[in-house]
Symmetry: C3
Subunit: 253 residues, 3 copies
Amino acid sequence: MKIVAAAAVAAALLATPSANAQESRMSETLKAVAPALDRYREQTLLGGVWKRTDLSARDRGIVTLAALIARNEPGEMAFTMNRALDDGVAPREVSEIITHLAFYAGWPNATSAVAVAKDVFAARKIGPDQLPSASPDPLPLDEKAEATRAETVGRQFGAIAPGLVRNTTDVLFRDLWLRPDLAPRDRSLVTVVALIATGQTAQIPYHLGRAMDNGLKPPEVGGVLTHLAFYVGWPSVFSALPVVKDVIEKRSR
Amino acid sequence: MKIVAAAAVAAALLATPSANAQESRMSETLKAVAPALDRYREQTLLGGVWKRTDLSARDRGIVTLAALIARNEPGEMAFTMNRALDDGVAPREVSEIITHLAFYAGWPNATSAVAVAKDVFAARKIGPDQLPSASPDPLPLDEKAEATRAETVGRQFGAIAPGLVRNTTDVLFRDLWLRPDLAPRDRSLVTVVALIATGQTAQIPYHLGRAMDNGLKPPEVGGVLTHLAFYVGWPSVFSALPVVKDVIEKRSR
Amino acid sequence: MKIVAAAAVAAALLATPSANAQESRMSETLKAVAPALDRYREQTLLGGVWKRTDLSARDRGIVTLAALIARNEPGEMAFTMNRALDDGVAPREVSEIITHLAFYAGWPNATSAVAVAKDVFAARKIGPDQLPSASPDPLPLDEKAEATRAETVGRQFGAIAPGLVRNTTDVLFRDLWLRPDLAPRDRSLVTVVALIATGQTAQIPYHLGRAMDNGLKPPEVGGVLTHLAFYVGWPSVFSALPVVKDVIEKRSR
């Protein structure tokens, strides 16, 4: 019954002819249970945080989509994916975001997102020509930085989980991270969002540093935190804040 | 197929004419896979923890519902919501619990719960007159305590995420927390449950202190932990225990 | 719509006559969105990690199933359950894994899994005679070790949550853990997987020590970590790694 209700809400979001009609349906559903949520949605979320200038609309699409996939929350995923595509996230980038999160949030999260994306892509007539190759020419690798990373991880954990250490090198840092259809800065953004969204604060220092090396700027980080609070809840963001602050302050010394 | 099965279970829980019939259907489903779960449900859960006197039935409804929404687990949400309404949680309180968790567990968790509540409210003929206003007259604000909170957070994180710091003041503490249709003690209870249910232990000290300021008593906290262990798993509760213990002991000195 | 899509994917996984046909359908779905995921699935997941010798196929089935239940991710649960049954996990063991995780991941996670297992068991004609008894003769209890555990927990938390402390003894350690239809080593394995999968690192030391007392070997622990990275994401496993390393190193001194 609940599943049917969720499907009805999802259908309300998708099957209607125009974005305005979708908005209006969601508004009616929220009002039937929690009129305040409809107000917060209009004033605080769509009329507030989404209009802030500390992050582009395209970045907000990436951040929201990554958060939903990382937490395996498909209810608003089709709506979010369509909006991201409207706001300039390319289909090949959506494809890579899902692929990346298979490794940073778990394989089942990726297959859930694939089920949503398949329908969204079909409705928008996005075909194989707009998707990344399975094995494209990789981006150039910073051999020195990667050697340092591999050496550190190998020294720490090579004796405990040798297969994991090898896969981390071969599958993640010498394959996944070098895929060219998502810019390294965006790939890092997706990773940092996944870490905040799933409470993996211990992994934030390395990946936030990498994100900033890849071009993410401190005010954008602030924008990500401000945006994410709405989509993953205040507590997850506040638990990440001291770690984020520490990384940013150490880099500015 | 799994979704269909889940829908069938959900339907079994909802579509039958009487509560007894619902119980009997769930019992049959559990027995078909795990007879022990049926025994634990009858003896340990319904016949045990729900009968304990350290927490009222109404509080147990709030705690269980908040845990399900915080973890976005809709499978038993309609059943739990109906039981909570039967046990004295008002429709306006259910509405506010969902609204509150939009901010403390994430917006998509709230819209999932709205989809469930919409059907539950319709079946019980709960109309707009029983729902909270979108913008009611707020409860009085403790200006001094709020100024201290805002100053602390602003000093710590204002430079990193100014938008988040402003929203925390304007949207949460000067709006959401002042909504009158859920008592501050219950709002705090929902918040603490969400923190335990989602493993956000770092946020427990502030909010448990606030909950006790708002009237939650130490034996009730023990009752919440005992109850929650069944709904969010023993490990989440045991990870929260040392923090909870520390808060309670410091206040009793 | 998304729910319908997920159901379609799930149906594609289940309703087809042969395992080969299922594989081929999943492959087509992945290719329509993310061709790289299809490559990773074939080469890295099925052709790579599942073929490693540091863990048996049966153990991989237990680990994968426990991870999906602990994270309440039903999308691939029927497929995983069928594969586990093919690889030598007995129906009574699947039943006990679900029962165990009701307490170590939360009751709603177990009822979600029951909904999936009910259909899987029906399709394989697994009847009540192949299920564990609700109240079987318990395994012998190590009274001394249990007295030490109970004394420690009681001293720490007995004043804060007496009901929880009592249930931990009566329901978990003098009942659930003594159920004979899942070997203690496998029960411990399920527990450790649930802790890693849900980020409950604080509970790992006790349960990993217990798992090794129950016969889990260090190379198998490495195999579990290597395998789990794919199913729960790299960050959850890397957050667990320092704790796991510490436990293993302390025991080898």
